[in-house]
């Protein structure tokens, strides 16, 4: 029976394969040249314990691909071989920073998208998913959707939540639409805690796109995204609570989330919240929210607002308009 052994690294894939089997294999020297620390076999003996400092460089780069700078620095400071392995990623971080400055025209530099893209692509080439996502964004803005999607795919495969979210969204808008893939990636990004993905996933579950319609799951994700600060999710969560769809009906929770959405600038929420306040008799507050809603284009708010304004004295009216003028939205994660 003829026995087969491993191929040598002639098939062009980037992995650093460990030396395997053949006693007369000259490939061992080539493969080992990057790894000065370990012997001819990876340490698999249970008595020694696994030697994580001896992980091959390309695996370490893969692990740290989606790290932000603080995490990358911490990982680089673990031991010298990790430092060496992660050098390209540290360079990528610098390129990323550089690119961002060109993109936004900060720090005394003229805004220059070409240079920004160039920097991002160099960072992406060194394996940083953050750079890949930023490069993808520039491509997308320029209408080069295929290039953008290719970059998002790379980032998504390396576990970057932003990349996964953007990939999912691009599949939603793609021609032809690919909802199943979209949901798959949005789901991964949502589990990774990315609020925008959570909201989009909830929408898909709500509308039954690419996945069976599931209002419980949808509501659950709306709530998660709302808790993460996503304004539209707050509005939807409030609706779920008030109608009892997907979440147990709770007027208190509905009011809470509607108020939060209104405070963060959601125009429909401002209208609804204004109405609720009106029905509770809080005229001043109600009219301020309704005024804000009208200014954002909710024409339906105008009628009720005028009704209340007529009931107020002139000074109150002025005060209400002043409050509306000075109002600023609370920060949100979008």
């Amino acid at each position: 029976m003829k026995q087969k052994t491993w191929p040598d690294r002639s098939d062009g894939v980037r992995f650093t394969a460990f030396p395997l089997s053949k006693p007369n294999d000259n490939e061992e020297n080539i493969i080992l040249s990057r790894r000065s620390k370990i012997g001819s076999k990876p340490s698999l003996s249970p008595t020694d314990g696994p030697d994580f400092s001896a992980l091959p460089f390309d695996i370490l780069t893969k692990i740290a691909a989606s790290f932000n700078f603080p995490n990358l620095l911490a990982a680089s400071l673990v031991c010298r071989s990790w430092r060496d392995a992660l050098r390209p990623l540290r360079e990528a971080m610098m390129l990323l920073r550089y690119g961002k400055r060109f993109k936004h025209g900060r720090g005394g530099v003229r805004r220059n998208l070409d240079k920004a893209l160039d920097s991002f692509l160099k960072g992406a080439a060194r394996g940083s998913t953050l750079a890949m996502v930023d490069a993808g964004l520039v491509y997308w803005e320029r209408g080069l959707k295929e290039e953008a999607i290719a970059l998002y795919q790379k980032a998504a495969a390396l576990g970057d939540p932003a990349g996964q979210c953007n990939l999912g969204i691009s599949y939603l808008h793609a021609q032809p639409q690919n909802h199943k893939e979209a949901v798959k990636w949005l789901h991964q990004a949502s589990i990774g805690g990315y609020t925008r993905a959570q909201y989009q996933l909830a929408l898909c579950l709500h509308q039954g796109l690419g996945v069976h319609r599931n209002l419980y799951e949808a509501a659950k994700w709306y709530l998660k995204a709302a808790e993460g600060g996503y304004v539209r999710a707050m509005y939807n969560a409030s609706l779920c609570y008030s109608s009892g769809v997907g979440l147990s009906q709770s007027r208190r929770q509905a009011r809470k989330w509607m108020r939060r959405a209104a405070d963060r600038g959601h125009s429909k929420a401002q209208f609804e919240h204004g109405l609720a306040l009106f029905s509770e008799g809080e005229m001043m507050k109600a009219v301020v929210y309704l005024e804000l809603a009208t200014r954002s284009g909710e024409t339906a708010a105008t009628h009720v607002k005028n009704v209340i304004l007529q009931q107020l004295s002139a000074t109150s009216r002025e005060r209400a308009l002043l409050l509306a003028d000075n109002w600023r939205a609370l920060p949100s994660s979008r």
């Binding site: 076999k41 696994p50 620095l73 400071l77 010298r80 540290r90 003229r110 589990i191």
Partner: protein, 246 residues
């Protein structure tokens, strides 16, 4: 060639033999290559993988093949849960799984295990990471400082206003440069070195006042303190090291 029930035999480093369906085994690009380029009937040696690990890996491959083919009714969320439980193993096993997935070229498993390790690293300080993975600290104090400084330089520089390629400077900043709070100015010049006024005073001074226009280059004092750092291809940045405290 084979019907769907073609089996492939695999022998591990500890001489255990596994017989698996072809569809499962070829999840490994390496095994696929060997199988397609050799005798279909022979046993494939998987030298650097032990029986336990291979058994786990085959479980993984089987699950994913079945779910993709629709043989098992499992939703993406459930598969995700299954994967999450799959990697809840001791470190030894995790380490072995990574190396084996790498050798056998099973991309999805490598992604999964790498993500697991990544999550164990994120948010931790270096000492904590070392404890988690039982890694010995082989840094000297100087080497560690060098890394911190390498990045600190780069980030203060790239983060602060002081860094810019001369030709890219916006018009209003051409004539003056703001010093950043830490009193270091890094000037990236493609080919030129920008001369600073009162550079002789810099040795003792904290804040640095910069120039009106690029003047002609290098006094010996600057020359000796110019350090060149290559950042990747096509990128040359000149950092001025001053005698004053960094």
């Amino acid at each position: 060639m084979g019907s769907t029930s073609t089996k492939i035999k695999l022998r591990t480093s500890d001489q255990k033999v596994f017989e698996v369906e072809k569809a499962v085994a070829v999840q490994s690009q390496t095994i696929k290559y060997i199988y397609e380029n050799g005798c279909p009937d022979s046993v494939i040696h998987v030298h650097s993988v032990s029986g336990d690990i291979l058994s786990k890996i085959l479980d993984y491959c089987k699950k994913h093949v079945n779910s993709a083919a629709g043989k098992e009714d499992i939703s993406p969320e459930e598969l995700y849960e299954w994967d999450a439980n799959f990697v809840k193993v001791d470190q030894n096993t995790l380490f072995d799984l990574i190396l084996a997935a790498n050798c056998l070229k099973i991309e999805s498993l490598l992604d999964l295990t790498c993500q697991t390790v990544a999550n164990m690293i994120k948010g931790k300080r270096p000492e904590e990471i070392r404890t988690t993975f039982n890694i010995k600290n082989d840094y000297t104090i100087e080497a560690e400082e060098a890394v911190r400084r390498e990045n600190k330089w780069a980030f203060d520089m790239l983060g602060g206003v002081g860094t810019m390629v001369i030709e890219e400077l916006a018009d209003d900043t051409m004539s003056k440069c703001v010093t950043n709070a830490k009193s270091r100015v890094c000037v990236i010049a493609a080919n030129q070195i920008v001369m600073m006024r009162s550079i002789s005073k810099l040795a003792n001074k904290k804040s640095i006042d910069v120039y009106k226009q690029p003047q002609n280059p290098t006094t010996p004092r600057i020359k000796e303190s110019v350090k060149q750092i290559n950042v990747g291809t096509g990128f040359i940045e000149l950092f001025f090291h001053f005698k004053c405290k960094m």
